[in-house]
Amino acid sequence: MSAPSIACEGLGKQYLIRPEGSPDSPAGSRSGFFRRPSPHPLWAVRGVSFAVQPGENVAILGRNGSGKSTLLKMLARVCVPTEGRAEIRGRVGALLEVGTGFQPDLTGRENVYLSAAFLGMPPRLVRARFDAILAFSEIEEFIDVPVKRYSSGMRVRLGFAVAAELDVDVLLLDEVLAVGDAAFRQKCHLRLRQMLTQGRTVVSVSHDTSRALDIASRALWLDHGKLVEDGPFDEVLQSYIDRTGAEGAIEALPASADGSLRILAVSTLDLTGSPAEEFAPLSPITIEVRYFAALPVPRPYLRVIVSSPFGPLQSASNFMDGARPEVLQGEGAFRCTFHDPMLLPGRTYTVRLGMVREDGVTPFFPRTDVARFVVKGEPSDVGFGADTARLHTPSEPCMLSEYSWSLPDGTSYRANPRDPVSRAGTDIPR
């Protein structure tokens, strides 16, 4: 392949953290006139090596504080690495935050020229592209208004439009598109795809894995500043979810602010009523919540939600079914069974609990993740027999449904998760 557009060799960034909340300073700098407690070093990123080819779209995954943003900042040359080396070929555009580098007192128009100058671009090149930028941003009527009067969405629009239209070869994005509205995000994604086919490179950081999913082809997973995995997006996401799902234990069970209502234990039960964390595909899942109510709780609303990393999937809610308990008092338990959970196997699911007072408005506690469970099995267990099924499991939505295809060549296909045996392998187009 051609020369990589980004090549990183053992990149690392060390911060010296000083106790007592005094300013933390980078490695190698001398302390001031007065002696301060000796700082302890913290490597935000260390030993990260990878190469990105032109036209690749790479997402950096990782939990908060894993060094994603630091890595991106080093690539954007906003902060200087402590060790290692990286090379980037071509013009680098970075959108590290909303309204990157905009001067609030200048108008949108002036800021477009300023942003171009930050890319080392002369005004005459911008003039030729200005109309395209304006059209992309869709904020024509505000272009001569100072940017300080812009909403954050408008800033992102303008910022992205500048980066998209000004011929950057490498685009670094940190969580920026989350601010725009859905239509604009869609437009940005289309534009990104177009840029990728033109051989430009995109590196993005996203805390929301479903967002990255739309565009990224490859993922780097950072954990505690180290590169844990580098590979096709779906594979990395799968192991990321597996690991963080396992690691991300339920922290604390919720209780009302005054302590009168406490959740003592939450367990997931299988068909036989015994506690289980792994379930067979399509088998009923019962969630048992043990509580203690120091004061009688009259007619509360209960709500149990099953969600995937991409969002909520199913709920059992008293707001919908009206089946509220008369009173919760002392120690007790309630159970909620999903008899026919149409969930994709091979994924981890989360149970969220919400409880609202009699008035239907005041929650006892914020909705909280109270349990996790895994639906074991293969995609073929629910009728998905294609050889790409396994690889793509992480990027498909988790809810199953019976559906059918009618294809232009006259063939049809019916997917029935409930009846996989008779179907699997039979009607699947070669």
């Binding site: 300073s25 700098s29 954007a76 990286a86 090379e87 070929r89 300023l114 070869d169």
Partner: protein, 282 residues
């Protein structure tokens, strides 16, 4: 779209731990010259846009200072002004001094005030003090016109040394940039440096023959006077515009140029280091 394909021929950005050389900074500034121009413009604009008197501030400040000095030192203290009207005598010296002090003061806080920008975009950090120099030079030029007007008003004839002035403006600018960069580097870490600067430049002004004539300085203090680069600048302005001023020894001028060079190079080094690490300091 035609230029898209040749990715190979494009610039390669190298990201490395902080090195000691400042030459690449200067080269990068040339590549980013459009940015210098734009930052300068936005400075000038921001400085005067939301003010009642707007651009009049450029001339108002030095003029008021001159009036105060004329009343205080010319009329009350009756300092000798070499037979020239004190107002022109003082203004001719205030002009380069304000340029110097303005550069120092405005570059000193550039890393602190532009922090939000430094955290988000890359550009050669030296652009910030350079843009401030340019906007100070704009002020300086406007005040140069005022001085010309004053010369006509007071019926003064410029001396033959006038053509030397660009060199002295360069000396003054270089010294200002050097000092400004030194302070900017220190201020990124210790904010109280900014107070030290405003106090320090004021002291320096009184150590420079701005409000008084260099003749007044006793012989024993002369070396101190001569080894201050700003003395040379100020006296050169008086010689140039009024044909009056102290002739200072040539070897002290060479010495002062060397001092300026050392301050400039040290300043650029300190700034180079501080600008790279200032983002990391909370």
């Amino acid at each position: 779209m035609t230029s898209r394909g040749d990715v190979h021929s494009q610039q390669v950005t190298v990201i490395e731990p902080l090195g000691g050389r400042i030459w690449p900074d200067l080269v990068a500034c040339w590549r980013y010259r459009h940015l210098v121009g734009m930052v300068t413009l936005s400075h000038l604009r921001a400085r005067y846009k939301q003010n009642l008197l707007g651009p009049f501030w450029i001339v108002l400040q030095p003029l008021m200072t001159m009036v105060v000095f004329t009343v205080l030192f010319g009329l009350v203290a009756r300092l000798p002004s070499g037979g020239k009207p004190y107002a022109v005598f003082a203004f001719a010296a205030l002009l380069p001094w304000n340029l110097f002090a303005g550069i120092v003061a405005s570059s000193a806080d550039c890393l602190v005030t532009s922090r939000a920008l430094l955290e988000k975009v890359y550009f050669p950090r030296l652009v910030l003090p350079l843009a401030r120099i340019l906007s100070q030079l704009v002020d300086f030029s406007v005040n140069l016109l005022i001085l010309a007007g004053m010369l006509v008003w007071f019926d003064q004839v410029p001396g033959p040394a006038l053509w030397l002035l660009p060199g002295y403006v360069l000396l003054c600018t270089a010294l200002g940039l050097g000092c400004g960069c030194l302070v900017a580097g220190a201020a990124a870490r210790h904010r109280d440096m900014l107070q030290v600067v405003s106090f320090g430049t004021r002291l320096w002004m009184y150590a420079t023959p701005v409000v008084y004539s260099a003749e007044l300085v006793p012989q024993t203090w002369r070396p101190l006077l001569e080894w201050n680069p700003m003395t040379h600048v100020v006296e050169a302005f008086r010689r140039g515009f009024l044909g009056e001023g102290q002739a200072l020894s040539a070897h002290s001028l060479i010495g002062c140029s060397l001092i300026t060079l050392v301050v400039l190079v040290t300043g650029l080094h300190v700034f180079h280091r501080a600008s790279a690490t200032s983002v990391d300091i909370a």
